[in-house]
Amino acid sequence: MAAPGLPSADNRPVGLEVVVGMKNVPKATEKAFGLNKGQIDLMKEITKAKAEKAKDEDVLGRIANGEKNKPKYDSSNIQQDIARFGGGSGNVNGEGKAIQSPNAEEKQINRFEQAKKTGEQISSVMFYMDLLKIQNAGGNVNEEITRLKDRNPSFKALGVETLPLLQAKAQEAMLTDPTIGDILGQLSNLPPGDIAKQKAVFEDMVFTDQRFRDTLSANLHAVHEKILKLGEMTPEGKAKLATDTENAKKTLDDKAARITDAVSRAYKGGGSGLPKETTNDEVVEILKASNNESDFKRNLAGKMGIVNYGAVAEYLRIEKELAGLNKQLEGNLNDTPVEKTIERNTGNTKTTTRETTHKDGSQRKMLDDKAEAINKRIVELKGINNFDTDLATYRSVSDFVDSPGVKSEITEGISSSRELNTLSAKTAPEGKNISTNLDTRLSREDDLLAEMKTVIGKSLAEVWKKDQGEADTLNAEIYEKRIAEAGSEMEKKLIIAEATRYVDFNASTKETTIHGDNIMEGIQLLTLEDQGVMLEMARVMELTTDAKVKAIFAKTPDGKKSIYTPAQQIEQVNKIFDKIKENDKTNKTNNFEVLEKMMKNHGSEYRQKMYGSYLTMDAYLKEGVNGHLLRIGRKIKYEGSRRSMWEMVSGDGNKTVNYDQLNQIYKYCEPDITEALEQNSAANNFMKRMEAKGMAGNPGLLKKLAWLLFIVLGLGSGLGAAGVIPGLSAGGALGAAGGAAAAGGLGFGALKVGEAASGG
């Protein structure tokens, strides 16, 4: 039955299928059909999925999860997409492989080659993941490879026959993405040069993650849509270009053939003829490389074996110059008198006389000197090895090129070659003249190339980001549940402090806050080990005051030394505890007993929280790789003194803690790291896999990795986990939902809560 006030199915206007096909449905249209946006969106979703022949069970899954159908990229399109790069002059050949126009300009070829390389790299990752999935499900990979080779031109273009070969290509593709290579390389704490181990990490963490495959496909589809908008030449434009190109090529070939024959005749004719023959291809090459006859002469001379072209050219130039000089000098030898009228002032009278002068001696000398220098240079040039042979060759080449029958062929051949160049540039979209918009087109292609080159990294980041959000939210939910189920008010205060005092995730704003000052106060207390943890718990349970806790670590007035030695600090702590006991007696309460019980039940997890938060803060403030990992998918803000760890932790007495104390804290908390990793099945499996990958022989590296995991997984800090190293969950049996549950399992008391979360 239709909703009240809305038209029923029977009196609704026709054309609902049109509405379902609309990108944006106006409100009025929705109303006319008596449907709301949610209904129309869902109808669109189902209709589209049916048209794409998606598996019904998957479609129901998406509807159930409220997910929109992500468009998928058809990997067989990759070669066609590649062919659109390079100004649109490319095409796919009969085998479906992208080919570039033979006459394309260098800048066009450059874009085409980049698209080819990147496109094939991306497709290698997609095909490899698909085949790996088949292999892992016990399917016949070789059969699938044969099928793909027959039916999918993009797979065929990769030229791989086996899964290991495809695997190598996919790994190479991952390594070329700076984002992924950097993050995974750093995450596994492997040196950048250790490619083999990085590849092992790809196998474990990325290639088996179907969510990554789907996201990559969807993102590539978006790029594909943009590639389609680049446009291509109209069929008429392409046909005309092909005809013109063919004609120009025919002329070029014809002229080249005639010139080749002429060269052959000149060679066979002997005398001052050419010393060598040329092939037709060589002549085509010379014609293409020549802008005029002079260029042709030089290029042909090169083919004829001239070694000292520069010297020969200089010789011919100065030989000509010398001839001119000699002519001038010959005239001067006659010392022809020159009559001049000269006016002179002598006193008040001006006299005019006619005198005969001779050629100026200095000018003659200058000409003599110049001629002498040229003669000297000629002697030098002639002394060059093979100079005479080169000179003779050049003269014969020059005579050949200038001969009337050949010259016109060369001129026309060069002209055809230049026409071919011009035609190759006429590959603009929609067949327009390229000269005005090729650069614009190539600039758009550059943008798309940049998108293609980062699509793998972007896709992986998106998957991680989603995980991160889920993990953080789940952690917050777990704390909420624990707070609601707390057995007493004091336990509640303790859990609230654990959830919010150090690293706090706000589930509604999705923002994580690192409370720097609280964390550093916690670190100071950790120097007192169990006593310090218990005191911190007493403080958050409001059994003592901030002032009393801070007083324990008070400094001398110059700020350089602590007032109390560590032993005295312990005494001060005990005094605070004694005071709580005293109050219990006075007030007839059992607070200290509760505190001891809390310490027994929650002390370990609270200690981990204090230390884990410190490591998280350290990673955040250092802004190194760990900090980067923490930031993936998170909005993080820092509250408190923005002092670097260098300032807070040093050998100086006036710093919060010194290095010795920090080492002491590490030793005190190290079992927590081991325990936390062991409790987390995903992290535990990851460590085992890393050991199996050949890191067992390097305990130091394993230890570092354990640390790194502890930090970036947020073990003990309250930060989520699965998202930072998605492969930990996605690569294992946990899957996406399991990943989130595993994240829950990272907190304290998390196993039971995590189980409850996954069971629900």
Binding site: A3, L35, Q39, L60, I63
Partner: protein, 106 residues
């Protein structure tokens, strides 16, 4: 193929057909304003959770009883499937009797 595999295969095929029809009916229900988006999500969740776990024809039949009880628009679809299954069972029974008769005669 052993008996268990045959049953599993048969259940899987039946399940896929039902999933297909659930979507078709859902689409029609959305068009006719008989179901809204949140209800559609519930139906999808319910179908995956219950039909997805079905390992025998009996389980599937039970699902076909439960689904229209919750959402009436699936009544016809479920009746159709139940009728088909019943008809198939009858055919198999007749075939079994025929085989027995054939063996008896020979």
């Amino acid at each position: 193929m052993d008996q268990t595999a045959t049953v599993a295969n048969s259940v899987n095929m039946l399940r896929d057909r039902i999933y297909e029809d659930i979507l078709t009916v859902m689409l029609q229900g959305l068009q006719d304003n008989k179901v809204d988006a949140p209800q559609a999500r519930l139906i999808a969740k319910y179908a995956l959770a219950h039909l997805g776990k079905a390992s025998s024809t009996e389980d599937v039949m039970h699902f076909l009883d439960e689904l229209p009880a919750k959402w009436e628009l699936y009544k016809n679809m479920c009746v159709k499937f139940k009728y088909e299954e019943k008809a198939k069972e009858d055919v198999e029974k007749v075939k079994a009797i025929q085989n027995k008769l054939h063996a008896f005669i020979q």
